[in-house]
């Protein structure tokens, strides 16, 4: 027995010895495998990213909807202020001193000084106003977009920065988004350009890969912009007593400026728990927005929530154009697949009575005009 035990011990010692002897080589192999794996992951990530950036333009339908709604925002704002344009921006407003000493930086920049220069000439100002309105219409329709957008951007900024005092943060958001859209292709779908370009397989000015690259990076920057705005807005609010106390929305709704429908303001704020749900809900929604975008069910919830939030601001607080622009930007988060399905449903609804079997059932006609729900 002892001899046997001794043998076993010797054998084990020899085994350990050989394990130790092989260890450097094994470690070397494992390390090589580790590096190879890491290398493969890095390479795959690089190739995936490259393909994501270069191979096709993302969110073309979403950006098209953004374009349309931003365009309607421009048209709506210009029409809304048309009859009071001289009073608010033109010769009737010279008392505010912005004609001599602009408050905004933009009128001092040559490129953005067009409106500033004709501010007190009623005829030229009105002419330029109408040009801007026409550009807003062309922007909405996506007609010669690559030419129209830069001109619209310059003139719009020039106009909206004439009277800094009546502006709001929506003006900043609108400007930043227009600037980012210069690099994207928001007229590739649902536009007059799209019909024309489709005949020639969507030609691009720049090499196709570069055109795709700029489009997709603009989309990334736009996403970051929206997310930062929502999250920082939520965090800034969270520190305030009226917000943590759950009654913050009551205060502005009771003022004349941000409670433009006093009867509705009274109804909305009558029941305390609802006031808290709205106040806290908006903070929670804003802060969790980026994470909620990650999965489909939470994305639907986030988008429905944030859109209700904007509709509330737009109607109850008298900021319709700011809200419409923000809603327009949020539409980039709805996937192309969903938009196409929605469009098919609408098309199906308008199709002839003898719809084929494989076509989706016609939706009620009244649904045709509004965007389809998120899918």
């Amino acid at each position: 027995m002892t001899a046997g035990r001794g043998d076993a011990l010797r054998a084990r010692a020899a085994g350990v010895g050989s394990v130790i002897a092989r260890a450097p080589r094994a470690a070397g192999r494992l390390l090589r495998m580790l590096f190879a794996t890491l290398g493969r992951i890095a390479r795959d990530t690089w190739l995936w990213t490259e393909s994501w950036l270069l191979d096709e333009k993302k969110s073309l339908y979403g950006l098209a909807v953004t374009r349309i709604l931003l365009g309607l925002t421009g048209v709506g704002l210009l029409l809304t202020n048309f009859s009071t344009r001289l009073y608010t921006f033109g010769a009737g407003s010279a008392w505010n001193g912005e004609g001599v000493r602009p408050v905004s930086d933009f009128p001092r920049i040559w490129l953005f000084s067009w409106f500033h220069r004709v501010a007190y000439d009623d005829v030229l100002f009105t002419a330029l106003y109408l040009v801007l309105l026409a550009l807003a219409v062309m922007f909405t329709l996506g007609w010669r977009f690559k030419v129209v957008l830069p001109i619209y951007f310059v003139l719009w900024v020039s106009f909206i920065e004439m009277n800094d005092a009546v502006g709001d943060q929506g003006d900043n958001m609108y400007r930043i988004v227009l600037l980012l859209l210069l690099f994207a292709d928001p007229a590739a779908r649902w536009s007059l350009d799209a019909r024309r370009r489709a005949r020639r397989d969507f030609p691009t000015l720049l090499p196709r890969e570069i055109s795709n690259l700029l489009h997709n990076l603009a989309l990334v920057a736009l996403t970051a912009q929206v997310i930062f705005v929502y999250v920082s807005g939520g965090l800034y609010k969270a520190g305030g007593e009226p917000w943590s106390g759950g009654y913050a929305v009551y205060n502005p709704l009771m003022t004349e400026r941000f409670g433009t429908w006093p009867v509705l303001s009274d109804i909305v704020t009558a029941w305390g728990p609802a006031v808290t749900v709205i106040s806290w809900g908006s903070i929670i929604l804003q802060i969790s927005f980026p994470l909620m975008l990650l999965t489909r069910p939470t994305r639907i919830l986030a988008l429905l929530g944030i859109m209700s939030f904007h509709i509330g601001i737009g109607v109850l607080m008298g900021l319709p154009w700011f809200s419409l622009a923000m809603i327009g930007i949020d539409f980039i988060f709805i996937r192309d697949r969903t938009w196409r399905r929605g469009a098919d449903l609408v098309r199906g609804a308008f199709a002839d009575g003898e719809a084929k079997e494989d076509e989706p059932a016609p939706a009620p006609a009244r649904e045709a005009k509004k965007p389809q729900p998120v899918r």
């Binding site: 270069l54 001289l86 009073y87 009737g92 005092a165 929305v249 009771m254 008298g318």
Partner: protein, 249 residues
Amino acid sequence: MPESTRPRRRVVTRVIMCLAVAVTAWHIFASFLWIAPWSPLREVVGQEKLSAYMIPMFGQSWSVFAPEPVNGDYRFEVRALVDGQATEWASASDTELSMIQYNLFTPRAGIVAMDVSSQLKGAWADLNEEQQGVVELNYFKDAWEERMEEALRAYGDTDVVDAYMTQEHRATAYATQVAYALWGDDVEQVQYRATRQNVIPFADRHDPEAERPAIQYSPTGWRAPVVNDGQSQEAFTDVFRAQYERIAE
């Protein structure tokens, strides 16, 4: 990804891609630092460099309605001296408010008077007690703005005076337009009243006895009319007077 189906990239494409990604990353990082509350993280870039990049094109601030949302109304009232007689007070803010109340499509003309009031009141609140006493006096003779400024500086020669004089001029020029629109060219002097009144506190909103907190005034005296170069009285009157008559009905 199989080798055969992977598109071949040109070197120049890859170089452009890396540059464009770097620029985008910088833009996003700068936007993040700018939009987020001020933090030591900004030292990574430096405040000046960050400002130089963000302003004016990406200028923005999202602390709207935070940490405490607005809870009061700014109002602006005007009266004038016509043929030695003082008129009644007329509310410019109420006149403009009627353009946005119960209107889904609100013109920006509706918030002009509120803005004049809020800016004037803000600048007034920064004056010290003696200076507030000065602006409560009447100034309607020649070069009144220079004289008022001199009087204010006697009690503290600071940026606060510059800021106030800018708002004083602006408010008087606006009040002048309102007075001309309502009482014609014979207006000799104008006086305005920029006030703020807070809303009924949330907890008391169902109390039928509850009254809004007292109006906060920023008393200012009579002033000689002020008209800026380029001002079209007609363009102002057309809108303001029509609206004033509409709500008077």
